[in-house]
Amino acid sequence: MSDDDLVTILAAAIALPLDPAHREGVALNFGRLLAQAEIVMGVALPPETEPAPIFRP
């Protein structure tokens, strides 16, 4: 599936209107995000590693 196809599906999932004039730039940037996601998903983390943000009620 191309980055452009993914953009179409994910934008529909959150009902985000995309101007056709913006699609190419969005797909390009989404591809860059996927490349960074691949790096992050490649890190093997132990189950006890908590997400970083701390909420203090």
Partner: protein, 464 residues
């Protein structure tokens, strides 16, 4: 006392005004004349607040005449990145969209603290739209030009703030740093910039970008000025949920202590590979000055940078989602497409990114068991050309605008306190080196900077 031809430090200005050798009004008038003469070429200020500046200056002079203490920043002229609330102005944050916001009813907390210490606000300063960029090439407000080379960018996103300080259009400035937005322009413009520990300084009244990563801090032409302002800004604020509420830990009184027994490491791996020859030479210059020869790895820097990249895209996008739906065409195109893409990120990536952030923080803590200070370039290269699309590093061609922060992003991702110090190598544009400390050890990083300045290894150069 007459004002010198070159810019005075904030400390010298405050001392002269407190000592009744200069008036704050004279200093403010002089700063406003300089801005009038030079801002059209630099594009560092988005709004000049002459009336407010003169009123604040006269109040300082009146306090001195009354025998009152005008504050440690008496009459120090400064500007703020245009994401800080200034009473009576809409907080534009570099956008068109925010011009529709009602004027701020009060100043941001840090602007109030500057005023309480006697500083004089000159105006608001140019930035990348919503702080999402590293070049301050803003489609709405124009490009801020580098004071050292007008064909080059000032860096971003706090480009107007760094350029103003480098050019002497204000002694110091307040800015923000989410992924490098203080350190990158400090590097490109040849000034000092402090990004304190995440949670040290309150962001209340500063327009947000990425709640998990947003920091605020000062830019200055000397370490002493950086510490002077940093000390004035410290203190808890319950309105900022991320503010850690720590007691004030003044740095200025400790700057005179030259650190002699520090364990200093030079970061290699990512921080070496993603730097060009000049950036590597700048780090060697600082390492030699400090007698540091040990190289150290910080495992996971690339993953931390990726985590920061993803968190930024997703949180920034969420912040602006309503406007992205309703008026996407009103965004700067360079920012809009990045934000729109960020709205689409699956949760799995974001949660993993937040866990990587925790893991990397623990990796860094392990390194800090063996080292007090770490060194790395602030930017992969010196200032890029206006309109430059790509960077070539380590044989790889990168899009320039998202990647100028390659060396700052992994570190702000985990909130470490860092000072970017300016290095001027012969015949080259300035470039910054990051002096990196463990969390809450800003004073140590500033001590090292002050030492480097005393021995002549770093310093802001006067702009012709």
């Amino acid at each position: 006392m007459t004002l010198p031809d070159g810019p005075m430090s904030a400390a010298a200005i405050a001392a002269a005004i407190r000592g009744r050798k200069l008036t704050a009004a004279r200093v403010a008038e002089h700063a406003l004349v300089l801005i009038e003469a030079r801002n059209a070429a630099l594009n560092a200020y988005t709004a000049v607040l002459a009336g407010r500046a003169l009123a604040e200056a006269h109040a300082v002079d009146a306090a001195i005449a009354d025998g009152s203490d005008p504050g440690a920043l008496a009459g120090v002229p400064y500007g703020v990145k245009c994401l800080f609330d200034v009473a009576g102005l809409s907080t534009r944050a570099g956008s068109i969209i925010n011009r529709d916001l009602p004027p701020a009813r009060q100043d941001a907390v840090l602007v109030r603290r500057m005023a309480q210490h006697g500083a004089v606000l000159l105006g608001t300063q140019t930035m990348d739209e919503y702080a999402y960029g590293f070049t301050t090439e803003n489609v709405h407000d124009g490009t801020t030009r580098n004071p050292h080379d007008s064909l080059r960018v000032a860096g971003g996103s706090s480009g107007g703030s760094a350029a103003s300080v480098a050019a002497g259009l204000g002694a110091v400035a307040l800015a923000s740093d989410t992924n490098g937005s203080i350190r990158v322009p400090a590097s490109f413009c040849g000034v000092f910039g402090l990004k304190p520990t995440y949670g040290r300084l309150p962001r209340t009244g500063a327009f947000p970008f990425v709640f998990d990563l947003d920091h605020v801090g000062p830019l200055a032409r000397t370490t002493e000025d950086l510490a002077l302002v940093y000390d004035a800004l410290q203190g808890p604020d319950p309105q900022d949920p991320a503010c850690a509420g720590r007691a004030i830990e003044p740095a200025l009184p400790h700057l005179g202590h030259s650190p002699t027994t520090l364990r200093i490491g030079v970061l290699d791996g990512w921080f070496h590979d993603k730097a060009d020859a000049q950036a590597r030479a700048a780090v060697r210059h600082i390492a030699d000055a400090l007698g540091a020869s040990t190289h150290v790895s910080l495992p996971g820097a690339e993953a931390a940078r990726a985590a920061a990249f993803l968190i930024t895209a997703a949180q920034g996008a969420n912040l602006h989602l309503a406007n992205l739906r309703a008026r996407a065409r009103d965004f700067d195109p360079a920012i809009r497409d990045r934000l729109l893409a960020g709205t689409l990120l699956p949760a799995a990536f974001l949660l993993q990114a937040q866990r990587v952030r925790r893991w990397f923080s623990e990796e860094a803590a392990e390194v800090f068991r063996s080292f007090d200070i770490l060194l790395a370039p602030s930017t992969p290269c010196s200032a890029t050309r206006i309109g430059q699309d790509t960077l070539e590093l380590d044989g790889i061609c990168y899009p320039a605008r998202p990647n100028i922060g390659l060396l700052t992003q992994p570190l702000s991702c985990i909130g470490l306190p860092i000072v970017s110090v300016p290095v001027f190598l012969a015949g080259a544009l300035p470039i910054g080196v990051q002096i990196i400390a463990a969390p809450w050890r800003e004073t140590l990083a500033l001590q090292v900077c002050a030492h480097l300045e005393r021995i002549g290894a770093v310093g802001a150069a006067q702009v012709a």
